[in-house]
């Protein structure tokens, strides 16, 4: 693994059993064979619709859920084999900011307690805990007065700031941001996103930014992975994804994306017709999972799964249009 790669994910799978009958299960294949790398200091965007498995992916990468198969290497080490002190160290270095600010903060703890929980668990030696937390709160735009208040006294945007302060408290290297601004208003979203970018510049964080909003992902990310039904269909730089989308699903996403500019959005360059609904992740289609909605589907797509190929330099796509058998 080369030096600048922080995280390497190899054929990661997470299946959730759905009980059918005794000793018989169906599986929701939430993540089904995902491979990619995240470089140090970059923001790796993951975009997909509901049911794509992107949230599950975020959690498995931090080992908040155990995988069904596959590997995740953090700084060269397989995180699923870590134990004891080494595991604790990994958990300190890899943090998460969740989507719902309303449920990710314990309503029975004060802000002070919430933010100190991490450092205490990891046995960090802090001389003056109050000053420590206050400096973190100031960093995210809150004040000393907020120290001993409870989460319900804050707005959505403020709660999300607290969640970010909590992530910062452990001095991490890698942060998974799972739809951090989806529940927030446009203006508050802008504040939070800029704050995240400032922190990344200052502390050299590596981010994995998960969202269904392609505009936001594009703004935040250096590279983007497009996920459909548990599999990655395209990975490339965010500019390239918009300029030369290869995978038919990406093209459809771009076609569906409403651009905040009436001159452009009404004369869209890509206007693929969007057909059908995402199929169930319990019994995904045979062959390429996207074939039931793909405008270019061929008989081959209906029975053979394409592989991820590097069709252009640093531009990966899994589609029979771009792969020879």
């Amino acid at each position: 693994m080369s030096d600048d790669v922080l995280i390497k994910v190899e054929n990661l799978k997470k299946y959730f059993p759905v009980r059918r009958f005794i000793f018989s299960k169906d599986y929701v294949k939430a993540v089904d064979g995902v491979t990619f790398e995240i470089k140090k200091g970059e923001t790796f965007g993951v975009v997909g619709e509901s049911g794509s498995g992107k949230t599950t992916l975020g959690r498995v990468i931090l080992r908040l859920i155990e995988p069904t198969d596959g590997h995740v290497y953090f700084e060269g080490e397989d995180i699923f084999k870590l134990k004891g002190k080494k595991l604790l160290e990994f958990r300190r270095k890899a943090q998460m900011v969740f989507q719902d600010p309303f449920s990710s903060l314990d309503p029975r703890m004060t802000i002070f307690q919430i933010i100190m929980e991490g450092p205490i668990t990891h046995g960090m030696k802090i001389d003056d805990p109050e000053e420590f937390v206050v400096s973190l709160l100031r960093k995210v735009g809150l004040e000393r007065v907020h120290l001993h208040r409870y989460p319900h006294e804050f707005s959505g945007g403020q709660k999300q700031r607290i969640a970010i302060a909590r992530a910062l408290s452990l001095n991490p290297e890698f942060i998974v941001l799972d739809e951090p601004t989806s529940a927030l208003d446009v203006s508050v979203q802008a504040q939070i996103l800029e704050m995240l970018r400032d922190f990344q510049r200052e502390f050299k964080f590596t981010y994995m930014f998960i969202s269904h909003d392609l505009s936001v992902v594009k703004y935040m990310s250096d590279r983007i992975a497009v996920v459909y039904l548990g599999q990655i269909v395209e990975i490339t730089s965010s500019d390239e994804l918009f300029e030369r989308p290869l995978h038919p699903y990406t093209r459809i996403l771009l076609s569906a994306l409403p651009i905040p500019d009436p001159e452009i959005t009404r004369k869209k360059k890509i206007k693929e017709e969007i057909v059908g609904e995402p199929p169930s992740p319990i019994n995904p289609p045979l062959g390429c999972r996207f074939h039931t909605r793909c405008p270019y589907a061929m008989p081959k797509c209906r029975y053979k799964e394409p592989h991820m190929v590097e069709y252009e330099p640093k531009h990966y796509v899994a589609c029979w249009l771009y792969e020879k058998d």
Partner: protein
């Protein structure tokens, strides 16, 4: 490849038969020793499944060797199911009589162990069997697994009945036997209904054919179906399909086409357990060839031209019977080469002759089993002649 799939399925069914045989013998033998009616009925349940499994294996073997198992197979299944229901009714009567006899089961330890053994064996077997068929014929695997799981449940009831019997609640054990018999009868009635409908009404069989036809015949080189039939057999279906393939397709590509047809057939009709699939090369046919042209007689690059020369060529005479020029316009927001290729595929084109073509378009054509030939000559007429000569041989 299909030999493997159904061969493998047959092997699994044979293992299943082995498990069932063991369990049936065990249960019937222990009934003779212990006079436990619930164990007897478990055994009868096993026999019912055993008969079905033997028939399934027979069907798969016949299909694999090209013989056609007659409709009579379904009729015999119907007959055995009805027979079994009658036997069960009789056993219910006997169990009812046994309820009032107030006797303890003899050799309760052996009886109880039998139920536990049945429980364990069916549990393990169901997991293993279902797993081994998961990739190929998941529906079959699931059905057989469910059968074993029903035996498991029934044995659990039987175990409970025996415990109660030992605790001197004598009537409980035959009562459980009656309960089990009712469960089986219910399932049997459902199966009888399905088999009867499958024999009497052709809708389901026709539905299988329609679905398969619609999808498979989209591929230009698959010309049509001849000799297609399906039979419904209880939970399952089996049949034969013969496809006529364009003479332009070399035989070494047949396995791939076969794989496509089979995978889609099983996917859209999961209850199919055996199919005799044959691909027949047509001796006489019209082959559709398309040439990308820049103008009247010059070959153009596929990606850049929107004009195409469509030729119908008779086989084996190799004479051009029809000749027309078509324009394929593609909306500019599409992936143009891929969309163009797709439009041609929808026109049932089998071969493309062109000067050059991008990977994208070529991949799309290949996905439709359409061949692309890069011509040496720039003149359309020459290139076509050259190509036609090459297929004469």
């Amino acid at each position: 490849m299909e030999i493997d799939v159904f061969q493998h399925a047959n092997n699994v069914v044979k293992k299943y038969i082995a498990y069932l045989t063991f369990l049936v013998i065990l249960n019937i033998a222990v009934f003779i020793i212990s006079r436990s009616y619930s164990i007897l009925i478990t055994g009868v349940y096993g026999i019912i499944y055993l008969i079905e499994a033997i028939m399934v294996s027979y069907i798969i073997k016949s299909i694999l060797s090209g013989r056609v198992p007659k409709k009579e197979t379904s009729k015999s299944l119907l007959f055995t199911d009805i027979l079994c229901v009658s036997i069960l009714a009789a056993l219910i009567f006997l169990s009812y009589m046994a309820m009032s006899s107030m006797k303890m089961v003899s050799e309760p330890l052996i009886a109880f162990s039998t139920t536990i053994i049945t429980l364990i064996v069916t549990g393990i077997a169901s997991i293993k069997l279902e797993e081994s068929l998961l990739d190929d014929l998941p529906y079959l695997g699931r059905r057989l697994g469910d059968h074993l799981r029903m035996l498991l449940i029934v044995s659990a009831f039987a175990a409970f009945g025996i415990i109660m019997n030992v605790l001197t609640i004598y009537w409980f054990e035959p009562a459980i036997a009656i309960l089990i018999a009712i469960i089986i009868i219910r399932e049997e009635l459902y199966k009888i209904n399905r088999t009867y409908k499958g024999i009497a009404r052709p809708e389901e069989r026709e539905a299988i054919l329609e679905l398969t036809k619609r999808e498979v015949l989209e591929v230009p080189v698959i010309k049509d179906i001849s000799d297609a039939w399906f039979s419904i057999f209880g939970y399952f279906a089996y049949g034969a399909l013969k496809f006529n393939i364009s003479p332009i397709v070399p035989e070494d590509e047949y396995p791939e086409i076969r794989k496509f047809i089979l995978k889609r057939l099983i996917r859209t009709n999961p209850n199919v357990i055996a199919v005799d699939l044959s691909l027949d090369r047509l001796e006489t046919d019209t082959i559709k060839i398309v040439v990308s042209i820049k103008d009247d007689n010059t070959i153009g690059s596929f990606d850049e031209t929107s004009k195409f020369l469509l030729l119908n060529v008779s086989y084996p005479e190799i004479k051009i019977t029809k000749n027309e020029v078509v324009e394929i316009e593609v909306a500019e927001y599409k992936i143009i080469p891929a969309q163009k290729a797709r439009e041609l595929a929808l026109k049932k084109v089998e071969v493309l002759l062109t000067k050059d073509i991008s990977d994208l378009a070529r991949n799309e054509l290949e996905g439709w089993f359409i061949k692309t030939y890069i011509t040496k000559s720039n003149i359309a007429e020459e290139a076509v002649k050259e190509f036609l000569n090459s297929i004469k041989t």
